[in-house]
């Protein structure tokens, strides 16, 4: 394994006030990670693969109605419920804070899928098929998963690894916010997001844009939520899964019948 000399702890911050639900992240992820084509059947059977997805929730009734969008990907939990139930250790937590899936260990018990409260793990019910010519597009850095195993968001580990090889090992530099961006090592969804709703970075890096949010949410746990200085929260925080993804609350100035200004 490529070991880096710098201890990273990756994390993502999702600003719900910026997200407009456009789905650019969804496609960027599917292209980068060789996801199978979601045909009509996949949707009819509720078996579409979307490592990152946009959930849309209705709130209220016409005409005082809102559609709220929330992008959901693997939360890379510190206390990941999927990890202890895998009988073959196909899923484990690596030393960079990532929840990792080893495809060639997976035997397809789907225990992890059952145990994931975020429903972000996907089982390959079919062998992935592409027309021959479309296979030219497949990303050589990412394994194509076979039928019978579980897959999920990796925070684009192949991009991080490439960054570590190019920036840290070859050039002797540091993989930080600047080099992640300039070297194209951000996860594909983060890079694509037109509204910059997704921010990715190293929680150990004092200059990382994600650090203040993780600090704040870690300092004031769910029992002291009101003392938080930022809009940060974790999804299903009460389950104590400790995700490495933090969401920033959507802002609605009209809550409680208030007026703008």
């Amino acid at each position: 394994m490529v070991t880096s000399r710098i201890d990273h702890k990756w994390g993502m911050v999702v600003d719900l006030d910026r997200c407009n639900g456009c789905q650019a992240c969804v496609i960027a992820c599917q292209v980068e990670n060789n996801l199978p084509i979601n045909d009509k059947n996949a949707f009819l059977q509720n078996r579409a693969y979307e490592w990152i997805r946009i959930e849309r929730y209705w709130e209220g009734d016409y005409p005082n109605i809102k559609a709220r969008f929330i992008p959901v990907m693997c939360q890379h939990c510190e206390n990941a419920p999927c990890e202890p139930v895998c009988p073959v250790f196909a899923t484990y937590h690596n030393d960079e804070g990532l929840n990792v899936q080893i495809y060639n260990r997976c035997v397809g018990t789907r225990y992890c899928i059952n145990n994931c409260p975020y429903q972000v793990r996907f089982f390959n019910y079919w062998h992935p098929n592409w027309p021959e010519r479309l296979q030219n597009q497949l990303n050589p850095d990412v394994t194509v998963r076979t039928r019978g195993i579980t897959e999920k968001c990796t925070f684009c580990i192949q991009r991080l690894r490439r960054g570590q090889i190019q920036v840290e090992r070859r050039a002797g530099g540091e993989l930080n916010d600047g080099t992640l961006k300039s070297g194209n090592h951000m996860p594909a969804c983060v890079q694509a997001c037109p509204t910059n709703a997704l921010t990715f970075g190293d929680q150990n890096d004092v200059h990382s844009p994600v650090k203040p949010y993780f600090e704040d949410v870690n300092r004031y746990n769910i029992h002291h939520e009101k003392e938080r200085k930022t809009r940060g929260y974790r999804v299903l925080e009460e389950m104590n899964t400790k995700p490495n993804v933090i969401y920033l609350k959507k802002v609605d100035p009209n809550l409680g019948g208030g007026h703008h200004g």
Binding site: R18, V31, E59, I157
Partner: protein, 766 residues
Amino acid sequence: MKLTRRNFLAWAGLSAVGAVACDVIQDEELSLQSPASLPEDLVKGRDNWYATLGGQATDGEGVIVRVMEGRAKKIQGNPKYPVNQGKQSVRSEAGLQALYHPDRISGPLQRTGPRGSGQYRSIQWEPEALDILRRELRARSQGMVLITEPLRGTLGMIADRFATSAGGRHLGFEALDDTTYRAAIKGVFDQDRLPDFDISNANYVISFGADFLSTWKGSTRLSTAYGEFRQGNKRQTQGSRGYLVHVDPRFSMTAANADEWLPIRPGMEGYLALSLAYVIISEGMQAEGVDVDALTNGQGAAALAAFAPEQIAGQLGIPEQLHEGKSAAEKIRDLASNFMHHGPSIALGGDSAGAHTNGQFNLMAIYALNYLAGSVGSGGGMRFSPESPLGNLADAATVGSAQDWAGVANDIRSGRTRMVLVHDANPVHGLPASMAFESALNREEVFIVSFSSFMDETTALADLILPDRVFLEGWGDDVPEPGPGYEVIGMQQPVVNPLSDLDPRSFGDILLSMAQEMGQESVLPWTSVEEALKSGAEALYNTGRGTSSHAASADDLWNMMLRQGGWWDENARGPVPSAPGGLLNNIAAQAREPGYSGNGDFYLLPFAHNTLMDGRLAHIPWMQGVPDPITTVTWQTWVELNSSTASQMGLREGDIVSVATDAGSISGVLYPNPALPPNVVAVPLGQGRKVGSEYATSGDSRESSNALDLLSAGHLTESGGLAWAGHRASVSGTGESLKIAKFEGIFPARQIGHTAGEAVIIVTNH
């Protein structure tokens, strides 16, 4: 080197595997790499990223493409390109699947059976295919029509000049054309180019109908600005989050993201805008330095007295529940006051607001508000990009209006037009069936040449098919519109060669070689698009401005343009128009209520699909398989009705419903939408393709329909555009139902355990 344990292991590893692995990984990696590497480290080959343009799907984005071993792997936004600054839309990556699409036409085809039968034989480019083209051009070019996608830049110029000098004309095609929007911008600002909106620095935006976060012009650029508008760094320190009001009879993606959504009777947007103008003037709220007397010919608020909120509020159809205990008139007054007191403010409009018999009036009234708010040419307002620095480049696409297309169809029928050339445009699918464009083309007297890479309804009628290279394989450039407010020329270069089993040829190169043979060297002196681009680059070098000022020679500039994706000069700003005298009087004089075609129970609102647009991307499986942001439906044509209305009609989700207007009827799968006004039926475009790739045509007619077939071809805006939002339709169940292919359901539509109205996504009010 000091011998440590680490070094020892590394060198031991190298000697062990070096002999077999040296062609797999590079030396410097070996020197540090353990032999127990994971396979992810052992990818063969090196990747390169090339800057180019994103093609038709992206409407002027600059992209970078990852190429490995001669194959394109990923498309991303070009971080240096001023228009989209490294970001991309959901449609950007469609180009990859177009490039490697299994259904690409592999080489020239000549029709052998009756027109439309799909019987073709493969022929060679030289001499057969080009001979036929040459022969027919000589015999029929007088009066011919060249139909393309909306083209700008060098290719736009080549198409224009080729068609004109051959005795014909060139028209860009878009199903939902922007001719009314252009006419309104011309009327209010006297500008030929579309404006850009500095939303990132605005504090208050009222958008009328324009779905600018999804499919409207420049949506990627505006989405990035929207992110800043909400939570940019400056916002967070000043606590000044931008406030968005969206006025739209349909609950669009932009409506979903607005702080306030105002449903309005379709086509009444202009009345609301003039009412806001009335309040602003009568209460003296206009921005400092705005000469109201000039705008109103000295009449002041009296010029707009007919639009006082008390006069017209009742006609706008704003639901009472939105008034919060106030009258509709008071609501309008509040809106005007917030618009003026929380500036910088922008009023923008488009899409359905301009697609009515009074569409041009609506848009002019909306844009005139920007003069009152003092936001024309200012930070946080709207701005115009300058003309192209090269006079001969097309800096605005010539797009045909519905009236123009009816004229083309007549010319073909009357025999004035005997030749039609089509490139990446599908008017047979994209024009309302009631225009009968298909029957006009389906005549033996006309010779049709298609330069498309894919079979579609129009190409299927062609006599000769000469497949073009897709944008990742060809040269080109672009003058983005809307631009970023200064001079930009984007460069498109071939990043890969066509696969060996494909034999496409550049459309531009063919036009140029035909032009030479027809004696048009004086207007089209180049032998290839690349040569035309190089001569353009030389002219740019001679300006010495912008990117050119960093280049040592013309060759150096050419390389720089290819590397960074184009040429730009941030100092060359666009014009700041001033208001024509009596503008508001003129607009008020044009006011009239919208006319609706047909008399069904519902207002019909078709709309561009978030990923398929008007159907031009329906053959791309990624685009089909992306859930619609609002309904989450994929692969099908859905029909949106208000949930309560649907249940009153005894209709449930998945029921096949028939939507009928005077012009025709279609069917689709019902999606009860809790946010749609009860008197509206909304249907997306994009599906209903009958000829072409299986991805586009696999749905049966119950679940895949072309909403354009519902439109009446003679129902037009003042400027001849299609009044596609001004129809009435009836809706009825067919008794059949299908399972709806939606993503919702994998997650619930409303969070379980939460009561209606309670927040699911955690929301704060500051």
